[in-house]
């Protein structure tokens, strides 16, 4: 009785002075969920019902449900690993309902012994793990637009995600099939309605490429290629062929639609960069972001992600004055090659309008370019592989807006 009255007045006080924080009464009282038995077990855990807003945003073709993308909500995540249900999606013609018992991976073309593997066969192979990012070659492509697109950071840069991929080194399968000496390419195909076809150089196939069976410990999710996908560390997403069905060893690339007409970068000269596989170093601030304004002057944590297809991130610089001065951000361990790296920076906002930026440097010495530098080299029509410095203006009210600076 006494306690309840106390609690009531505490609540009233709390509502009267919202900025004063939780009242002592609320803080010290036994919260309601401690006063009844909790829920039972679950076969497959789901996020809290209070996290329902943390979802992929779907941009699908109005005429083809399975064509388009679903963006990873980078602004709502912390650390570097992407939960499996939030990994970005890019499908050209939907997610196939593959029966793993019937699925086969064929290795043929210029090999001594064309081979066919069942999923069960592949699960018996020695596995290797790669904790790393997959980034669509079209990620951040809004950056090529002449005016800054006004939307959330995740809607512009969310075609990247990071997982622990576990699978059979592709090299082992190719060696078992016996690749002929001068075969320079492996043409990979998917078992989707689109019948994806792209070409992978033999050096990369023999280096760190995996035929992945597992994503963050469980079977690869259907939208990420179940039961098999290629994982090509550090290289553009389209090469990580999902629903992998065929690997055709060849002396020449296939010159498929998705390595000529798409995922090539048209330059101002009229020529296009082709096979620009490695995703160059990039970083983006994910907090503060446009849906979460800075709530007044004071101390704030700037947080973001940096990555490079060429190895480790060695440094991320942050500017809180529109690029006039740069300070080194803190990198959150672990810092791994070809993997997302989380950076943080302690910012004390004086309440004046300003511009926030981040700039990544990788172990090859490559420095993330300014937008001006990137555009002067590649023009506005490249469509893919945009990796320039991203700028966010903060106005006097703390609202965050995408700007070109």
């Amino acid at each position: 009785m006494q306690r309840r009255r106390f609690l009531k007045s505490g609540l009233a006080l709390g509502t009267l002075t919202p900025l004063a924080g939780t009242s002592a009464a609320m803080e010290y009282a036994r919260p309601p969920w401690m006063n009844e038995p909790g829920a039972g077990f679950s076969n497959y855990g789901q996020p809290s019902e209070h996290e329902k807003a943390v979802i992929r945003w779907i941009s699908a073709n109005p005429a083809v449900a399975g064509n388009g993308v679903a963006w990873c909500p980078l602004h709502a995540l912390a650390g570097m690993v992407t939960p499996n249900g939030l990994h970005f999606e890019r499908h050209h013609h939907g997610v196939p309902p593959i029966d793993p018992v019937q699925h086969r991976l064929m290795v043929d073309g210029q090999v001594a012994r064309p081979l066919s593997f069942s999923v069960e066969d592949l699960r018996r192979y020695p596995l290797r793990s790669h904790l790393g990012f997959i980034e669509c070659g079209g990620n951040s492509s809004a950056g090529w637009h002449r005016e800054p697109v006004q939307t959330s950071v995740s809607y512009i840069h969310g075609l990247i995600s990071c997982s622990e991929w576990c699978g059979v080194p592709l090299r082992i399968l190719l060696q078992e099939a016996g690749v002929v000496p001068d075969a320079g390419w492996v043409i990979a195909e998917g078992a989707d309605a689109f019948a994806m076809q792209v070409s992978l150089p033999m050096d990369k196939a023999m280096d760190d490429t995996l035929v992945a069976l597992y994503q963050n410990g469980e079977a690869v999710r259907p939208e990420n290629g179940y039961p098999l996908r290629l994982v090509v560390p550090g290289w553009e997403g389209v090469l990580h062929v999902k629903w992998l069905r065929r690997l055709r060893v060849a002396s020449e690339p296939a010159m498929a639609r998705n390595e000529t007409a798409r995922y090539s970068d048209l330059m101002p000269s009229g020529k296009a960069r082709q096979f620009s596989f490695s995703m160059d170093a990039k970083s983006v601030i994910t907090s503060p972001h446009s849906a979460a304004p800075v709530q007044g002057p004071g101390h704030w944590q700037i947080s973001g992600l940096a990555w490079s297809g060429r190895g480790r991130i060695t440094r991320v610089d942050v500017s809180v004055d529109g690029g006039r001065s740069w300070r080194t951000a803190e990198l959150m361990e672990p810092v791994l090659a070809k993997c997302l790296t989380r950076f943080q920076y302690d910012w004390v906002w004086d309440g004046k309008p300003t511009i926030l930026q981040s700039r990544a440097v990788d172990e090859s010495g490559y420095v993330q370019p300014t937008r001006e530098t990137l555009l002067s080299a590649r023009g506005h029509n490249a469509e893919f592989h945009y990796n320039a410095i991203v700028s966010w203006a903060v106005d006097a009210e703390g609202a965050v807006e995408h700007v070109y600076a």
Partner: protein, 189 residues
């Protein structure tokens, strides 16, 4: 001494990738031999130069009909673009600030158009077109891009011989060029 020399020779023979640390790890060799004949795998493998194209032929007229029936809803009349990409009608050249990329202006190899249509189309039943239908659609798409004349009938030989306007429009950035190579400027400006 001879063994040292042999060692050196052997090293020279080892392909680059075998030098990687993990390279000696082998697998249990569980793959089953394929019955051979890559040609039997569907969709067929069609190379940029036309190797792998099937027998048969198809013409622009049939292609026009098929296009109206199966393609126009998304790609627009004549391939001008709608909910899906424009397939023809580029006016601005590739070196214009407003460059337009279509089959006619951008695609480097005509046989790969056949390949794309046979593997991905029609949208509601991919892979179900006959060779004649795919040759016909390819002929129509090339016609609507001003690359072949009306009335053209395409088959393996004729399609393989078409040289697309943008054949030489691509600079390979892999293997990565060295500084000084003209490709360097395109790939790593």
């Amino acid at each position: 001494m001879p063994s040292l020399l042999m060692g050196a020779l052997l090293v020279a023979w080892v392909p680059v990738w075998a030098a990687a640390g993990d390279a000696s790890r082998s697998g249990p060799a569980l793959g089953k031999p394929m019955s051979d004949a890559s040609a039997e795998v569907s969709p067929a493998y069609i190379a940029a130069d036309g190797r792998g194209l099937p027998d048969g032929s198809g013409d622009v007229d049939l292609g026009r009909e098929l296009f109206a029936q199966h393609c126009q809803a998304c790609h627009g009349a004549g391939g001008a673009g709608a909910t899906a990409d424009a397939l023809s009608g580029a006016e601005e050249p590739l070196d214009s600030p407003w460059a337009e990329k279509t089959i006619g202006s951008y695609w480097p190899y005509a046989p790969k158009l056949f390949d794309f249509v046979q593997r991905s189309k029609p949208m509601n039943a991919p892979g179900s077109f006959s060779s004649e239908q795919v040759y016909a659609l390819t002929a129509y798409l090339l016609y609507s891009n001003g690359i072949v004349e009306v009335g053209t009938r395409l088959d393996r030989a004729t399609l393989s011989h078409i040289k697309m306007p943008n054949r030489d429009g691509f600079v390979r950035c892999y293997p990565e060029p060295e500084p000084g190579d003209p490709a360097w400027d395109h790939c790593f400006p």
